[in-house]
Symmetry: C2
Subunit: 129 residues, 2 copies
């Protein structure tokens, strides 16, 4: 018998940037929340789309689509899906709280990526204590 | 090339209760938003879990688990997963805005359900114009 989870409470439970916490799971998917600030690393997930929802703050997602680079800008309460295989780089110019949904086991840095900076946590998400 | 979707804009585009709109899709899943007010119908989805997030307002989900009935109460910003096969009945005592994620094609009233009241839209979700 499970109980509801409060997103803000989960977000209050950690400070690390770019280090998703698993809020809950359904079917074979994770609901994850993370704190973003600054630039992430270019990467792509070859076998899965990735859903982003901005819980607080704002998020730019840089995309490389068919060799063309563009960016989408998301405000609080906005949703975007990065299609599988599309290289992308999230960036937030202020600390922002992002909800992501993707298959359990999906690595934050994807299947292909640029050199991973020290501040990036390459993980499949952390369970909350 | 897709663009971000604003949840509030989608919610502003319709008034019907219990009638989900498809915000976006990822892999073989829908992100849906709906307006709840009053009592829904008892039902269950046999083959899929169902994720609920309260965007605005509040939501009670009545559950029948192993013959025992209980309720979970969700406030804004709270998340709950109804496991597959579990009979449930959502209820909101004020108009509330709910985000749901479930496989594309999932019927709102599930695979088993009580008699469907006239005010319930039995649908796999409506695409937004």
């Amino acid at each position: 018998m499970t109980e509801p989870v409060n997103l803000q409470k989960t977000l209050n439970s950690f400070n690390e940037l770019w280090s998703p916490r698993i809020v809950t799971q359904f079917n074979d998917y994770d609901v994850r929340v993370a704190k973003f600030h600054g630039e992430y690393v270019w990467h792509s997930h070859l076998d899965t789309d990735e859903l982003f929802i901005v819980v607080a703050g704002r998020l730019t997602i840089h995309l490389r689509e068919s060799g063309v680079e563009r960016s989408v800008a998301l405000q609080q309460g906005e949703v975007y899906v990065v299609p599988r295989g599309i290289e992308h780089k999230p960036e937030s110019d202020a600390e922002s709280h992002i909800l992501m949904i993707e298959p359990t086991g999906t690595l934050t840095v994807g299947d292909t990526h640029d050199k991973i900076p020290d501040y990036v946590d390459a993980t499949t998400g952390h369970h909350v204590d």
